[in-house]
């Protein structure tokens, strides 16, 4: 009897290999038992009904991966935040200045910054990502070498700045002078690139919640970036992720930091308006 029951269970398990729980879950994300995160939110008007609910990628990950993000002692991304704090205080370049020389304590000076980037910079006449602003400070205020756009030091610095806004709602502006860039990003989002002819929307708007081979598709939101991935054991930038996703459509991808990816970042960020800034988040 016992043997028979076991065989039946084994047979059942084999017959339904694709029966992994595919829907996003209803768990609540509270970090360190105190920062309550908004991980599901009503879509902004500019989404035009494209998504019924805007959801953080956190909901699509396994419980064990989710748990790593709930306590800073477990979150491997926090190590890089610490490293960036050292860089923050290190004087570099011809001006012999550090970030701290101008901005002092990031907990005060950088609070809320991440939530509004990418944003229009009036003096430069361009939409700037956080990475572009970091490099502008390095080159023009410190006289130091810019970081490579999607390098480790850049991702760590972005994480240090982002963590000061953790729990605050993403709120990027898409109107006025930023509108043209936003429109370009939107066009890229819906373009079916590569020999597989797939757009961001094919996977992350039409099929979030579904499995594509072994991957559980999320909405591809960037409120959690930079993201610590268990797969490569480091922090990953949004442009690094975009690059991988475009490459996976068998396309010639765009370069991190390119105008195309800056526009795409503004557009994708705006799709997540209202979600909490989550960086550094943890994904598989």
């Amino acid at each position: 009897m016992k043997f028979k029951a076991m065989t039946a269970i084994a047979a059942l398990a084999l017959a339904v290999p694709a029966l992994v729980v595919a829907d996003p879950d209803d768990d609540n994300l509270v970090i360190n038992g105190e920062i309550e995160m908004t991980t599901k939110v009503e879509p902004a008007d500019h989404l035009d009904g494209a998504l019924p609910t805007v959801m953080s990628g956190w909901h699509f990950r396994a419980d064990e991966t989710q748990a790593l993000q709930m306590d800073d002692f477990d979150n491997p991304g926090m190590i890089f935040v610490d490293q960036a704090m050292d860089a923050w205080q290190t004087a570099e370049g011809t001006e012999d200045k550090s970030c701290a020389s101008c901005h002092e304590d990031p907990a005060d000076s950088m609070k809320g910054v991440r939530a509004t980037y990418p944003k229009w910079n009036e003096d430069a006449g361009e939409v700037r990502t956080l990475a572009m602003q970091i490099n502008d400070c390095r080159e023009n205020q410190m006289g130091a070498e810019p970081y490579k756009y999607d390098s480790g030091p850049m991702a760590s610095m972005e994480a240090l700045i982002s963590v000061q806004s953790r729990g605050m709602p993403v709120d990027v502006a898409i109107d006025g002078p930023a509108q043209e860039t936003w429109e370009r990003g939107k066009e890229i989002y819906y373009t079916r690139y590569g020999q597989l002819e797939l757009s961001c929307a094919n996977c992350h708007e039409q099929n979030y919640g579904n499995m594509i081979r072994a991957d559980h598709l999320s909405q591809g939101q960037i409120n959690g970036f930079p993201v610590y991935r268990l797969k490569n054991a480091r922090l990953n930038t949004a442009h690094g992720r975009f690059k991988g996703c475009v490459r996976d459509t068998r396309a010639e991808t765009f370069a991190p930091g390119s105008d195309a990816f800056v526009a795409l970042e503004l557009y994708v960020a705006s799709r997540g308006n209202g979600l909490s800034v989550e960086a550094p988040s943890v994904r598989n």
């Binding site: 290999p17 002819e197 094919n202 579904n210 081979r213 068998r250 396309a251 010639e252």
Partner: protein, 158 residues
């Protein structure tokens, strides 16, 4: 002179059609996307077709579709309909058309076009992220398409 050129072109086209597989740009799709002629004239091998369907580096069809007959291969996707019983729903010509270029059957479908070489935006050199060198190869060869069609024709539940 003009007439001569045209006739010459017709002869060349006719010649190549009998010589080898139908080229991706020459496939004759019916009004609703079916392809009645075999692309190679060589019968498909269902076992080779099953391999194309499940292999990540070839068709990778199960990235999007579930196929019970291939339940030994884990991680079957949920993007397209399960392919069980597909031979009961479609004729061989219709299946050939869907595999060769599903967009002729389903306008705007997410399913990739497996026997197509033109009309892509920023085509890449496989999964390197670099630009592809023209001319492109189709995602599957003509014989692989025929093999997949032969495999799908075995998926009948009646």
């Amino acid at each position: 002179m003009r007439l001569w050129t045209l006739t010459g072109a017709a002869i060349i086209a006719a010649g190549s059609a009998t010589a080898g597989p139908v080229a991706p740009t020459d496939v004759a799709f019916g009004e609703y996307g079916s392809v009645s002629e075999s692309l190679t004239g060589v019968p498909g091998d269902p076992e080779a077709g099953a391999n194309v369907v499940k292999n990540k580096g070839i068709g990778n069809c199960i990235a999007c579709h579930q196929v019970s007959a291939l339940s030994d291969t884990p991680f079957q996707g949920e993007i397209g309909p399960p392919l069980d019983g597909v031979a009961d729903r479609w004729s061989e010509a219709e299946i050939r058309g869907i595999v060769a270029n599903a967009k002729k059957t389903y306008d705007g479908t997410m399913m990739p076009s497996y026997y197509k070489v033109e009309g892509y935006i920023r085509p890449g050199d496989a999964y390197t992220g670099k630009a592809a060198e023209e001319p492109l190869d189709p995602l599957l060869t003509a014989q692989q398409i025929e093999d997949v069609v032969a495999f799908l024709m075995t998926l009948s539940e009646e």
